[in-house]
Subunit: 142 residues, 4 copies
Amino acid sequence: MITKTLQSRTEVAIRFSEVDSLRIVWHGNYIKYFEDGRHDFGKTYGLSYHNIYDKGYVAPLVKVNCDYKKPLFYGDTAIVETTFIDSPAAKLIFDYKIYNKASQELVTTGQTIQVFLHLDQRLSLNIPDFFAEWKNQWLYAT
Amino acid sequence: MITKTLQSRTEVAIRFSEVDSLRIVWHGNYIKYFEDGRHDFGKTYGLSYHNIYDKGYVAPLVKVNCDYKKPLFYGDTAIVETTFIDSPAAKLIFDYKIYNKASQELVTTGQTIQVFLHLDQRLSLNIPDFFAEWKNQWLYAT
Amino acid sequence: MITKTLQSRTEVAIRFSEVDSLRIVWHGNYIKYFEDGRHDFGKTYGLSYHNIYDKGYVAPLVKVNCDYKKPLFYGDTAIVETTFIDSPAAKLIFDYKIYNKASQELVTTGQTIQVFLHLDQRLSLNIPDFFAEWKNQWLYAT
Amino acid sequence: MITKTLQSRTEVAIRFSEVDSLRIVWHGNYIKYFEDGRHDFGKTYGLSYHNIYDKGYVAPLVKVNCDYKKPLFYGDTAIVETTFIDSPAAKLIFDYKIYNKASQELVTTGQTIQVFLHLDQRLSLNIPDFFAEWKNQWLYAT
């Protein structure tokens, strides 16, 4: 089965308040940029926080990795490239590549893993039906 | 009627991530320190977020003022002095004075005003009973 | 002397991480939106952080006021309207009006006041020359 | 050569502003708690940001991992256990375990890796002398 590459590209303007005393973006703020990418991916492909909630689930993070390669500065614009990673597990996995828009340099890479909880907080051990359907629609469509 | 001064003093350690590229605390972070003071006041005097919620109310802010007099730096410890300001209105008003613990200098002053909403989001036009009782217990007690 | 109205309008997308447990934007985050407006104003009118720094000054805040009228929610887009307020003092004053883009409702108003420091941290008691020239160019031009 | 376990334990009070609309700590805030742990470790063992800077280095992060096991809530107190991980590389590596103070449950684990830059931004390929001495003093001492 051939799967498509599902990907979004999101512009993020770096705020003054996101920069630390070394005049570079404080490392923890990249987690926000990943979320900006995920938000945009969700809007593009119908897999937003609100879409998931309407189906009776929330999808909290269970893991985040972030590798810092180059700094970003106040006034820079970042491009967050968010790629859906298919998995047989009941998990939602995204890879991120953050680029400096002006230089086109890769500045950060990362990954997040989310699980599905029913609204009563029980972990969904199986892939939720809506997510299986979503994969059929977007990922495996011919 | 004589009212007591109700006041708490709260230590806050300044985080690296709270300092900006000028190496001073970014101005928006003082709003967190005010909230630290309010949190501590609430725990001390039985007027916490959870106490208010248990009585059927939330108390969102409708106003904040902040005057910056001296900077704070990474590694500093701030003292937030939170003072209850009595008012006949259905409002919760606090004054704040933030000191640098080491130098004892006054670095910031401010004020917040909160209103009471019922849990269904309706504004409480009158002082909630629990708050009137709280005032009787703490503020006017002989 | 007739002065022009100098104003910018800036779109801000509300982040998931900016919303609190009441599902509304946490009040302290509006200070970031004011800064987004100020940043955009500075880019539009040549009065950015970097412009000011290049002239030998920094302009820290000495006062912020914020009045909350309506909540904003995750997924909303805010419009920050930033207006330059002229003053004979050596101060930089901006008024802010934040609107909900979808409903056009006014959700927040506020004001910030900044002073000018030389790069050695001394307060500028007089209006810096570059700022007087900036006013002549933008504010009083016929 | 026997190495000692160098470890600190740091209390962190969860702020209202750190909790998201699911009423749990927003995942990106754990990066701050790791930094709180690192800050405390540095103060305890003489390896703070300021100690490193005084030796002519800064130590930016190149990697962070975070695994979320249980949520934390507003009002909780977290215990951040920060453990120094020895390595032959010119890197500063810490493992973190975050516990809920009340329940003693392990809520989060993580790791950060930092490199050493000279103050002119050049990467230090070798272990800085001061760091080799620090290891001799603290880690390998008999």
